[in-house]
Amino acid sequence: MTSLTELDVRGLPPPEPFEKIMQALQTLSAGTELQVRIHREPFPLYDVLRDSGFAWQTDRVAEDEFRITISRRP
């Protein structure tokens, strides 16, 4: 069963959202998903996730809010 860790970085100044997501990914265990709430679409993050073996799905939930669900690629 997949468990979920939530991280809200809305309204934080750069580079805090990126730092906090990276910190959370360092401790993300297999079978756990990280759900990030962020105020803008973080394109540079996708490159890091792709290269580091993570899968992600982005949903725009409001004009200025995105929900990114990140998990380890099998």
């Binding site: 100044p13 750069p14 580079p15 990126f18 996708y46 490159d47």
Partner: protein, 431 residues
């Protein structure tokens, strides 16, 4: 877990934008030199050789140099798409831009239009390379947003400005019988009102909410503003180049343009007023100064221009737009994105080495000093229209600004290189 550094086909190397930023302050220094070499008051009228040379040093050598670097960095962040062959495009477009700008400026300063024959092909090639690469990047981007539209329209405006500029330079160099007054007016309107203004709009939509923690710009505005500015400029361009167009039609397009400028300036000031953390921030103050200059110019253009001598108004408008609006925004943007770039690239390379905090990369106290210096520079430039002593103060301030900005950028580059060496040393020790 080790996160893997970004590959160069996904994000441009830090050297790509930084090489444009690092060289630009030298052109501010050159602009000051061009004005100093003028025998009398270079602000006596809008077409003194020294003023034309200095203006192109600022518009091409400084503003456009930084904007080309910024576009290469902003596109991957805003639309998730990098320019193709980023190192080659940066290398070729920058060298051609430097050579072309120097030839053009010395052509003006020395009164040797023959130099334009060498300048315009170099500049045309520099921009052809850059604009093609940027348009490819925009075309293959998945994301669609208001910044993408504004940057796309800014690039189209730049193309028009380059074609008109090349035609003017070719005409001067070869003694063609062209309508220089109308061509120059068209060149200035698409270069300043299109390229600079539209790019400022597109970048502000991202930089202001992201770094200054403001609410986003109103959606009704972001969707319509850049297309409205561009459509107005195209209509104005057609009217300028046509024969026997009633003067009131040109006034209508000018009025629409300045209303758009007022909407952009006032909405920026409004979202900044509504920001969450109301703490003093030098970069935010640079933006406020820039928007204040834009609003002042718009109001002057809509009302007071009929009460000031036409020649003086032209120069005053150039000062307010270039020094007041464009340079203020550029300084405000640079002092946010350069520390961020240095931090980001070091963070991605680092393993255990501590990445310097963004606030340690560029000292804020020096940003405030630069803001004051920039304010004095702007005031001195305005007074230069009527007072010769102010010309020398303006030239001195421009030199100091060039040195200060160059010092700040070199500080950031030094910190980046020093920390990267530590990271590499640590990696080799742990291997």
């Amino acid at each position: 877990m080790n996160l893997i550094p970004l590959s160069t086909d996904q994000a441009p190397p830090i050297s790509v934008p930084l090489r444009f930023f690092a060289i630009a302050p030298l052109f501010l220094l050159l602009a000051a030199l061009m004005l100093a070499l003028d025998g009398g008051n270079p602000f006596a009228h809008a077409h003194t050789p020294a003023l034309l040379a200095a203006t192109h040093c600022v518009t091409l050598g400084f503003v456009t140099m930084i904007m080309l670097g910024a576009v290469q960095q902003v596109l991957p962040v805003v639309i998730g798409s990098t320019l193709p062959a980023p190192r080659l495009v940066a290398w070729a477009s920058q060298l051609l831009l430097i050579a072309g700008t120097l030839l053009l400026c010395f052509g003006f300063e020395l009164g040797k239009p023959a130099l334009f024959n060498f300048a315009w092909p170099l500049l045309a090639l520099a921009f052809a390379i850059f604009i093609s690469a940027a348009l490819i990047s925009i075309a293959r981007a998945g994301a669609r947003n208001a910044s993408r539209t504004a940057i796309f329209l800014a690039l189209l405006s730049l193309s028009a400005a380059v074609i008109l500029g090349a035609l003017l330079a070719y005409g001067y160099a070869t003694g063609q019988a062209l309508d220089y007054f109308r061509l120059a007016a068209a060149h200035v309107s698409v270069a300043l009102g299109g390229w600079i203004m539209l790019l400022a709009i597109g970048v502000s939509y991202q930089v202001v909410p992201m770094f200054q923690l403001t609410p986003g710009y109103p959606k009704w505005l972001t969707i319509r503003l850049a297309p409205a500015v561009f459509a107005t400029l195209i209509l104005h361009l057609i009217l300028l180049l046509l024969d026997a167009v009633p003067h009131w039609l040109l006034l209508v397009t000018e009025t629409i343009f300045w209303i758009c400028a007022i909407l952009f300036g006032s909405s920026t000031l409004l979202v900044q007023y509504l920001r969450k953390r109301k703490i003093p921030d030098a970069t935010l103050s640079f933006f406020r100064l820039g928007m204040g200059a834009l609003l002042s110019l718009a109001i002057l253009s809509l009302t007071l221009k009929y009460f000031i001598a036409p020649e003086s108004f032209k120069i005053l408008a150039g000062i307010l737009f270039l020094l007041g609006f464009a340079l203020s925004l550029i300084f405000g943007m640079l002092y946010k994105i350069v520390p961020f770039l240095v931090w980001f690239h070091l963070f991605r390379s680092a393993n255990k080495t501590e990445t310097p905090n963004m606030k340690e990369i560029l000292p804020e106290a020096w940003m405030w000093r630069h803001l004051w210096l920039h304010g004095i520079t702007l005031a001195a430039a305005v007074f230069s229209l009527w007072w010769m002593v102010a010309v020398w103060l303006f030239i001195l301030c421009l030199v100091l600004q060039s040195l200060l900005l160059g010092y700040m950028l070199l500080t950031a580059i030094t910190i980046y290189r020093r920390t990267l060496k530590l990271i590499e040393l640590e990696k080799s020790c742990s291997a």
